[in-house]
Symmetry: C2
Subunit: 389 residues, 2 copies
Amino acid sequence: MQNFTFHNRTKIIFGRGTEEKTGEEVAKYSDKILMVYGGGSIKEYGIYEKVMSSLEAAGVEAVELGGVKPNPRLKLVHEGVEICREENIDFVLAVGGGSVIDTAKAISIGVPYEGDVWDFYAEDRTIEESLPIGTVLTIPAAGSESSPGSVITKEEGGLKRDAGSNKLRPEFAIMNPEFTYTLPDYQTASGAADIMAHVMERYFTHEPHVDFTDRLCEATLRTVIENTPIALEEPENYGVRAQIMWASTVAHNDLLGTGRVEDWASHPIEHELSGMYDITHGAGLAIIFPAWMEYVHQKNLEKFAQFAARVWNEEVDFASLERTALKGIEDLREFFRRVGLPTRLSDLEVEISEADLEEMADKCTENGPVGNFVELDRDDVLEIYNLAR
Amino acid sequence: MQNFTFHNRTKIIFGRGTEEKTGEEVAKYSDKILMVYGGGSIKEYGIYEKVMSSLEAAGVEAVELGGVKPNPRLKLVHEGVEICREENIDFVLAVGGGSVIDTAKAISIGVPYEGDVWDFYAEDRTIEESLPIGTVLTIPAAGSESSPGSVITKEEGGLKRDAGSNKLRPEFAIMNPEFTYTLPDYQTASGAADIMAHVMERYFTHEPHVDFTDRLCEATLRTVIENTPIALEEPENYGVRAQIMWASTVAHNDLLGTGRVEDWASHPIEHELSGMYDITHGAGLAIIFPAWMEYVHQKNLEKFAQFAARVWNEEVDFASLERTALKGIEDLREFFRRVGLPTRLSDLEVEISEADLEEMADKCTENGPVGNFVELDRDDVLEIYNLAR
């Protein structure tokens, strides 16, 4: 087990009606804020109105920035930075899912920074200053509501890159599971894949003596595996939606990675996919993660057999840990299929040529190899794309 | 699942050599502190010296208050309050286990309060102000290093009572598993019982749709169950000690109780025992918890069967959930026995008469019934003491 520091100050306010506390929480920081959101769904489902009236009751003025899209774009971040500067705004409230929150985070580091905020995404650069941010979460998936990360896509070149700092953890996250009732099935399923991927990026490690976090990871995976199919059948089942929503936060608040060397190869490999073709991140992960597993499982059969046994209830085949390991990988792919996700590149409605795959492999490894479980160079990544076809 | 707020700001600094960061962390708050510790063990094993030299290097002056005993006493708290006031001290550092930390917490609320600090323990009173505190943990058990609670014993009448507030969470917890190598076996085992009890007080609830926290609880229990016997055989096994130490914090940092109605009957029932006879709290819990389970299990056989199946790998007897439930309770008692703990009042080296039990039952319920899984009045508590004989 490795040394670690764990410090997550985000205040979680969870449950029915908690959006009414938005104003009260925001007012601790500012009386004039930028409120970032996505398309029309928060207006359609009354979330916008509830948040606005809570802000108003607390005497908080909100300047609005709507229009965040999935795989959020740098252009809108630049717009947000401009507005904050012009209007002297010192707090950013994100009302939405991961893309909205990541946009808010990018704006929060862009405002006090003299250069282009993309610098923090293009290269590994320390974030010295940022505005405080808060969130009202509507999609359980990215875990951005209490994570230190942000992922932004630069339109030119379809570059999807991330930035991270403890400073980027939101001050609070308001989480009402009812807000997830109206998610389209595909988004519920993609969210599940994203949550599971956050856990698995941490789970697969060669680090010994991490039984505790192994078991916490397994607990989180099983929760998502058991509750997602029920949520698809019963979209307004509060208890089930609540399990998924809370699991999505814990999956990515850094607790599950304490003391471990995490992997984080599948995420950048997927980012090339959703950056280039604008497919849903979670759906991309449902394609990439099993392929990554197939490519690397032999490097630690014990860990993959443990995954099969403890997460998927597979009986251990003591004559062949590899057979056990492969069952776990197939169980994962089958689960993704069952909840309606693509599990092969060929399931996508886009044409991807061999040349495209090579370009993606180039871009993915332009700053060097990715991953820690196995260090993957350009040819390894290409091989994984090919396994995913 | 219930609505909840979860806000744990304690910074965890975990691993080998982390005590060297004590001075740096403390200096963020103060340059003159009260340093609270227990008996001679931190001096004997070099911890005292390491902490002092780190403080010195950071320019922090430490006024010392040693002599904290298990089941920490109010008298020493009063002493600490006096010292802080006389010396104008505004930060308290606890170097030790739960008793030391709980003493530091009591001092931290006593200093800014005009009345007797016992008021916060004797009755339910809001804590308005407290000094910040930090901890260097040496015993994994109480979870006080990031919990909002403190338990103190008033010498007159052997009254053991608790106080709680988010303000009582330490600012930081420095946790080096090597510091637990020299714990006597009995203390390692008692710590395990305490950790497990913190989980089980949360686990046994009638609240539906708490699958996620159920599984996190089970993960924590299994970690302690598997690692404690190894720690007893191999006291200097770093990885094993690290699992137990980190599990002890998470068991009581409030994550595992999110969204649930927690029980908390066994703790006050045990507090009468350790308050009156000065036995180790964890050992007392090893006696009381299985007796409590025997008394209440019929109120929710499904939950107790789940405990037996998921924590102890018992096969579910579908013809009788009660038989399954009882196996889980017996497994718990057997585990406590195996690690060398008493599991019956008769295992203790004290004479406890029927009149003593009645007095304890009276005191335990003097402010009304205890527990939520089942509300227990004076006669129920007496029955549990009798089941524990």
